[in-house]
Amino acid sequence: MELLFDNIDEPGLHTLDVYRARGGWDMAARALAMAPEDVLGELQASGVRGRGGAGFAMGTKAGFLPKGEGDKFLVCNADESEPGTFKDRELMQKNPHLLLEGIVVAAHAVQANNAFIYIRGEYDYVADILDASLTEAKAAGLIGELNCWVHRGAGAYICGEETALLDSLEGKRGNPRLKPPFPAVQGLYQGPTLINNVETLMNAPIIMRMGGAEYAKIGTERSTGTKIVSVSGCVQRPGNYEVTLGTPTREIIYDLAGGPPEGTDVKFFFPGGSSAPVLPGTDEYLDVPYDFDALQEAGSMLGSGAIIVVDTSVPVLDVALKTAKFYRHESCGKCTPCREGTNWTVKMLERIETGQATPMDLDIMASVCDNIIGHCLCVLGDAMAMPIGSMIKHFRAEFEEHMDRAQLAATEMSRGPHAGPYDSVDPVGEATAELV
């Protein structure tokens, strides 16, 4: 079933004329004619959950905003930086007006008078398309009184975290804030703020068209609707696929994305971006339905809906090191457990790689991860600790084997290229030669 990807490659869809010809902007008009509470009611009835990572029900979150007059803000989170995720890029590039319509609908539901689209700086060409569409929509009087702008970031993963995004939008360094107060009460410029992901907002006009109750029938009971899943890594046909929530994960990886290359198998996969704990490629995990609750029960999360597949030819240590280095680079440095923990995890993984590690290191690493989780203002540290922890849990044997092998190789190297077998050399002599 395709809702968001329905004929999305229609030529010229990014222009107002083509979008209107397929009934676009009608839903915004219908929503504006309704009372805000009724629009909010439809969103709540749909049960649509946030597509950005946390999976919080959109209608419920919008309901937290205080009612009545006053400056309220709607922020669209288009800072899609989660490794493996690229759904918003495709959606915004091909159907920018659907996002703008969604913003108008959602802004009316919560009575917001300012709306900002915070798009990551790297998506410059997508932002150009959005800017052009916004100009078109403003000229046609579709945005109304709403003060709506596209705001470009400048490259920081942490700005995808909602409170860091708000700081960045206020023109500061993107450091997360303490919660509570939640943004719904005190957000942008200390005003009530609703923050939603691009895909969530794009669902709003679709919900208005179908009716909330009808939309809720798609998918499973607690994960309604469709989801764009970004499949990447070791698969034959990487890309964005729209699936109904609850589709078995195996179907997405094998039937849609073509499965891993010939001669290899799925070793493990990240079910929801690099922040989600990995799941091994066994039947038990491949048959898990792809929805919010089932993945949580399986010990992972749906996150941003990005499946990164790793096949059997790749050492788990390489992936762990890449993941940890990414979070070390992107940690904003505000909270000590995250800033130091990510750094030490990278150092310990490098020790394992170069053969300097002892078997104790894996346990120390696990304890470092334990000390990060839940001890910071935001979940960036947790987002590193969880996948690394799950890799150690599922592939401990491989880590240990690598440790032994690297240790042996390191010893061989220190004995020089022409060294014979152990019994024919004088270890003490060699060692002193090295020191001199």
Binding site: F5, D9, P11, L13, T15, D71, S81, E82, P83, G84, T85, E90, Q93, K94, N114, R120, G121, E122, Y123, D124, Y125, D128, D131, A132, S133, T135, N147, V150, H151, R152, G153, A154, G155, A156, Y157, S168, L169, E170, G171, K172, R173, G174, Y189, S232, G233, C234, R237, P238, G239, N240, Y241, L256, F270, S274, V314, D318, V319, K322, H329, C332
Partner: protein, 249 residues
């Protein structure tokens, strides 16, 4: 203080040559060391006087436009810094001063903001910026080798600013690169020299590999031949962006 040897450890080799034009302190870094006493007699830099800080015509108009968009003008600091960087090539002290004067903020505040974000350049760089994604998905498909190949292809040409970057959000075309903001991929190692040549000649980078021309995955993989027609939502937008003052370079 004297100019020192180019540093090759800061990403691109060519970048190092340009960066060397910025003075170094005696301990080798371009910023004062943590143990170096601050000059306590010197006042911190204040907001530059707009009367004595000339701002180029086009740039000041942009700054005004950005500041007018938000309830608090300070929100415009990132857009303004971006505009200044585009105009000057990097965030030179002059660039920072111009933004500071226009926004009535101290240079220190702006530098603190700018150093947080990856896309701001704090040393002179060449006009061609190439980000090679070396994150998980891309590296599973050989991005690290591609990064090396790009560095080799550019050699010591100071026109190229080649950086390895975190996930650029285009894992479907891994391994990929963002060439002056244009996403191209999946790139082969042989295409690295081609790309460098195209940029030197002023041609479009790898036209048949641009992401904008790709339909959604289901269509793309179902069709045997690779469509290379008009990019979806691409070309038409460029002319109209002038109104928003964020057109392409």
């Amino acid at each position: 203080m004297s100019l020192s040897e180019p540093d090759v450890d800061r990403g691109g080799r060519a970048q190092g040559r340009l960066a060397a034009l910025v003075r170094r302190y005696e301990h080798g870094s371009r910023v004062p060391g943590w143990d170096e006493a601050a000059d306590l007699d010197k006042d911190p830099a204040v907001v530059p006087d707009p009367a004595t800080t000339p701002v180029p015509e086009g740039l000041s108009g942009l700054f005004e436009d950005y500041m007018g968009r938000y309830p608090d003008r300070r929100s415009a600091s990132i857009p303004c810094l971006r505009a200044a960087q585009r105009h000057h090539g990097w965030l030179s002290p002059t660039a920072i001063e111009q933004v500071a004067a226009s926004m009535a903020l101290t240079p220190g505040y702006l530098i603190a903001v700018a150093t947080f974000y990856d896309m701001f350049e704090h040393a002179p760089v060449g006009p061609h910026t190439i980000y090679v994604c070396t994150n998980i998905s891309c590296s599973l498909r050989g991005a690290d080798k591609l990064y090396e190949a790009m560095l080799d292809a550019a050699g010591d040409d100071i026109a190229f600013n080649i950086r390895s970057f975190e996930c650029l959000g285009a894992c479907d075309i891994a391994p990929m690169a963002s060439v002056n903001g244009v996403y191209v991929g999946p790139m082969t190692l042989e295409e690295a020299p081609t790309l460098v040549k195209q940029l030197r000649d002023g041609a479009e980078p790898l036209p048949d590999k641009q992401l904008r021309r790709r339909p959604i995955a289901r269509t793309w993989w179902a069709s045997g031949e690779r469509p290379t027609g008009e990019p979806a939502g691409g070309r038409g937008a460029e002319g109209q962006t002038a109104a928003n003052n964020e057109g392409e370079e």
